[in-house]
């Protein structure tokens, strides 16, 4: 044990240093047969199917679980799923997410329940696309799309705001703020019992 823990600066060490100074040379010249073997790889590849895609004219779909840009999802009536809990920001190993929560008011409601995400930013200069934020999200508000085209010409543009991240309003959804579906509470939303918007919530988007 002692020998392992305390390296001694004795002649053994010096000898090792001397050895390392010796030049490393390969005296063996390659035979003709071996050189031919190398060209065989080249030859074989020439007749293979080409992997190159004419990007950006042609865009191949990614693997279905590819980690792309995030999306903030909506309930079927258009209310936001995000409750501003910051668990995504907490889980983020790169500190790429910034959230500020706020109170839902009766006259200005963005999500079911008491709280919504007032400010939501993801900094794509920092994001490492690990997906821990998606695992942390308690309401499935945050998911990842397959979109990978995330290059831009300034740092500011790569900080995505809530508006950039929110999912699109689909048919039947009412743009928030608007009240909850009549006679429901937040647990009905989480159980998936609200499947569409109600006329009292506002004018729904047509297809």
């Amino acid at each position: 044990m002692d020998n392992e823990l305390t390296p001694r600066s004795d002649e053994f060490g010096l000898a090792k240093a001397d050895q390392s100074k010796a030049p490393i040379t390969n005296h063996e010249s390659a035979s003709f047969g071996k050189q031919l073997l190398g060209f065989w790889v080249t030859l074989r590849t020439m007749f293979k199917k080409v992997n190159t895609v004419q990007y950006p004219e042609v865009k191949e779909p990614t693997a279905p679980r590819f980690h792309g840009r995030h999306q903030l999802n909506r309930h079927p009536d258009g209310l936001e799923k995000c409750i501003g809990c910051e668990l995504c920001a907490w889980a983020c190993p790169a500190d790429a997410i910034y959230v500020e929560g706020a109170d839902n008011k009766e006259e200005e409601r963005f999500s079911p329940g008491e709280r919504y995400g007032k400010v939501y930013q993801i900094n794509y200069l920092r994001c490492i696309f690990c997906g821990l934020c998606i695992e942390a999200c308690p309401t499935r508000a945050l998911t990842m799309t397959n979109e990978y085209e995330l290059a831009d010409d300034s740092r500011g543009k790569l900080i995505f705001e809530k508006d950039d991240l929110l999912g699109p309003l689909r048919a039947g959804m009412v743009p928030p703020p608007h009240p909850m579906y009549p006679n429901t509470d937040d647990s009905n939303y989480y159980k998936g019992e609200v499947t569409t918007s109600h006329p009292s919530q506002g004018i729904a988007k047509n297809d």
């Binding site: 409750i83 501003g84 809990c85 910051e86 668990l87 907490w90 929560g101 109170d103 008491e114 309401t139």
Partner: protein, 783 residues
């Protein structure tokens, strides 16, 4: 009680007890609880209801342990927070006893049955004892499959505090705090069994001055503050230890900042000062620093009379020009740090070559000046803990220094000590202290003070700044203290006043309590400052400066409406250099305005009423730390007479190196009080003080806090109510030549010749409305 809690003179031999916890032997004083003895060994027993400053309750049952005394075991696990250690006791916690461990897991499972899965939206999430202990001492999975009990949520039990009843684990910390510490039992546990819940009386909201502490000690998220609701998560916040700038109590504080913005302030821990508590004003009144009228850049008044933003060199040159060749003075204001006060003090003497400097931005007298320069005020919180009798003169601790109130109340609750208050009527605070009230109209307290008896050397006399409004008041107090040997404490309302005295921001005083009249003290200071001499003539007081023909004034944070209604008009005729955080009445009339930092953005120290120094660092990072002293130093350079205090730290070091005066001291020249005022039937002598929560400028921008302020009322006596033919709640008009105030009345046991009104509350801003605040005759009529 441990040895530390007793005074040195009281130290008695405490019986020590030896017991065994988890196989380790420990010796502790008799009466120590098992949970506390385990803590000393580093063994953490989970708990919710246990709090070292509250009486044991055994309400949550989370701290169950196996106990055996002299070989005989308790049949079931016992709550370690309620059982004191005994000789021969063998305790097995969850670490060594599977029975205790199972019992704790069972309790945790029970507590979690009805606890909602709110953690993602709950403010406590991330700093929640329930969350933490459910992880460390709970089952990994719930076996409960039923429906959780739900309540309507949240319920606002006051405008500042919200209650989520379904999150409550019924630990009774909040109700015990309100009853035992604050003396405001407005919150109780109602109903029984599964429906048991925290509630308030239907008519009375939870309007305690200390309600914020219940939010801080709630071990779950059942009580949350409205202002901080959903603002941040614990991991977002950068915490800095700081000191409270609101009053002279001197609370240790914790300031939590997210991205340069203060989001909340919590009570810090200091056993010698505020223990673990603070008042709602200290906790919630911090939004003034982000108010819209913050001054960001220096400004000078242009030829058209408008303030224009200019560069620093331009503003400093303009200010130096105005101050340099004119007779000038310095008004410091009562909210400065010690370092800033020292800066003002040195600036006046060195750069302006004058002793015209006064920190008192309130009513004051020559007698008070004498008192501040000479009186020994050496009472401390510890003296209150050991006192046999506390006398309050011109001082309402609950309104004017809330932590002093808590300390007196603690001893009233624990030892039933005697409290005597000399005041016109028994306020809610003195009722809670069960004070023996000596009814006395404002202006005629002297006879009551002289008649006080039964004081010993263990008694404490606490005096408020308001007593300076009574001629002869402070003189009779000094006489009382020297005759009886009682400890004397002078408690100003503002945090900076004690420090300003120490720094010599008074017309008759140099730093370190050196009297200007003393030539060797002057030489002392001149040597320390490397100047030839310091001015020897006693300077002018605040009021004299305002009324005088001085041409220029340098003004720190003062409000002319705290001094007199004409102050602003008189000041407007002078060249004024104002160092301010926000636009104010002074910046309205100032020729040069120089922006300074609020407390969260600067470092420094306050001196509390005991004379203890409370250091704090800037809570917000990337701050310019524009403390007043830095700007004064630049201004002095510009004038050409440098004071060489470029940083807060340099001011601190220089001030500390000067030290206190240890030469001869003079005694106070006593003043004889005036007699009582004669009044007619429809007249009364006005008396007032400031409520804790009022229209004070540091409470701006915090509506939720203002919602818990006490309603403005005029207090009148039974016989006056009869003669005016009014009943409780009727409107009464109080008037004089200057103006009038109309308020609902409250009939109370008040001195017959007096009426009382709040000094600076909604609809009752006395200097603004009446021009007087005390000791003056006003007409009272039914409105």
């Amino acid at each position: 009680m441990s040895i530390q809690e007793l005074g040195a003179d009281q130290q008695v031999q405490v019986e020590m007890i030896t017991c065994v916890i988890d196989g380790f032997e420990i010796t502790v004083p008799k009466g120590t609880l098992v949970i506390r003895a385990a803590e000393k060994l580093g063994i953490q027993i989970p708990r919710f209801c246990d709090h070292p400053l509250l009486a044991p309750a055994g309400a949550c049952r989370q701290c169950l342990v196996d106990i055996e005394i002299n070989g005989r075991a308790f049949p079931k696990p016992q709550a370690s927070c309620t059982i004191p250690v005994e000789n021969g006791m063998v305790v097995k916690t969850q670490l060594t006893s599977p029975v205790a461990d199972k019992a704790q897991k069972g309790i945790m499972e029970l507590l979690l049955i009805n606890h909602p899965l709110d953690c993602p939206v709950c403010d406590k999430g991330g700093e929640c004892p329930l969350q933490n202990q459910a992880m460390s001492n709970g089952r990994a999975e719930s076996r409960f499959e039923g429906v959780k009990r739900t309540f309507e949520k949240p319920v606002a039990i006051s405008s500042q505090v919200l209650l989520d009843r379904e999150r409550c684990v019924l630990c009774a910390r909040c109700t015990r705090f309100s009853e035992q510490i604050a003396g405001d039992p407005f919150i109780t546990l109602n109903e029984r069994g599964a429906l048991q819940q925290v509630g308030i009386y239907e008519e009375e909201p939870f309007d305690s001055y200390y309600s914020g502490n219940t939010v801080q000690i709630c071990p779950v998220g059942a009580l949350t503050g409205t202002s901080y609701r959903f603002r941040a998560r614990p991991f977002d916040l950068v915490s800095t230890n700081s000191a409270c700038e609101h009053c002279a109590s001197g609370c240790a504080m914790r300031t939590d900042v997210r991205r340069g913005k203060t989001l909340r302030r919590l009570a810090g821990e200091d056993a010698e000062v505020n223990e673990e508590w603070n008042c709602d004003k200290g906790r919630w009144a911090f939004k003034y620093e982000v108010a819209k009228n913050r001054i960001k850049n220096p400004m000078i008044r242009d030829s058209s009379g408008q303030l224009q933003e200019v560069s620093w060199p331009e503003a400093l040159a303009e200010a130096a020009n105005g101050l340099k060749n004119s007779r000038s003075g310095v008004l410091v204001g009562g909210r400065v740090t010690i370092e800033d006060a020292y800066g003002y003090s040195k600036f006046a003497r060195v750069a302006l070559n004058t002793n015209n400097i006064d920190f008192r931005a309130r009513l004051h007298s020559q007698e008070e000046l004498e008192f501040l320069a000479t009186a020994k005020t050496n009472a401390t919180y510890k003296d209150l803990d050991n006192a046999d009798h506390v006398v309050l003169i011109g001082f309402e601790p609950e309104d004017e220094s809330p932590i002093v109130f808590l300390r007196i109340y603690k001893q009233v609750h624990k030892r039933s000590i005697k409290v005597t208050s000399i005041a016109p009527y028994a306020s809610r605070g003195s009722e809670k202290l069960k004070a023996n009230l000596i009814k006395s109209a404002s202006g005629s307290e002297v006879s009551a003070i002289s008649a006080l008896s039964g004081l010993t050397s263990k008694s404490v006399v606490l005096v408020g700044e308001r007593i300076s409004e009574t001629e002869g008041g402070l003189s009779s107090i000094v006489k009382l203290a020297s005759d009886t040997g009682a400890k004397l404490g002078w408690i100003p309302r503002r945090a900076g006043e004690k420090g300003a005295i120490a720094a010599g921001a008074l017309p008759n005083l140099l730093p370190g309590n050196r009297l200007i009249s003393n030539s060797s003290a002057r030489v002392d200071i001149a040597a320390a400052w490397s100047v030839d001499s310091v001015p020897s003539e006693i300077g002018l007081s605040t009021e004299e400066m305002i009324n005088s023909d001085l041409q220029a004034l340098l003004i720190g944070g003062i409000d002319p409406m705290d001094i007199s209604p004409e102050a602003k008009i008189k000041l407007a005729k002078k060249f004024i250099v104002s160092l301010e955080i926000r636009q104010s009445d002074i910046t309205d009339i100032a020729s040069v305005v120089l922006p300074v930092a609020p407390v969260v953005e600067k470092s420094g120290s306050f001196m509390d009423w005991q004379g203890k120094v409370r250091k704090f660092e800037a809570a917000v990072d990337q701050t310019l730390n524009r403390s007043d002293v830095r700007i004064l130093s630049m201004l002095a350079d510009e004038i050409g007479k440098p004071i060489n205090l470029p940083t807060v730290n340099s001011a601190r070091v220089e001030f500390e190196s000067i030290g206190s005066w240890d030469g001869e001291v003079s005694t106070m020249k006593l003043v004889v009080g005036a007699g009582n005022k004669a009044i007619n039937n429809d007249e009364a002598i006005i008396s007032s003080w400031r409520n804790l929560l009022d229209k004070g400028s540091l409470q701006d921008g915090e509506e939720n806090l203002a919602g818990t302020a006490r309603k403005s009322k005029v207090v009148i006596s039974q016989s006056r109510a009869k003669s005016l033919n009014v009943s409780d709640g009727d409107l009464v008009r109080v008037s004089n030549n200057y103006g009038a105030v109309t308020l609902a009345c409250q009939i109370s046991d008040i001195d017959e010749s007096s009426i009382w009104l709040p000094r600076n509350s909604l609809n009752s801003q006395l200097i603004r409305n009446l021009g007087v605040v005390s000791n003056s005759v006003v007409k009272v009529a039914k409105a």
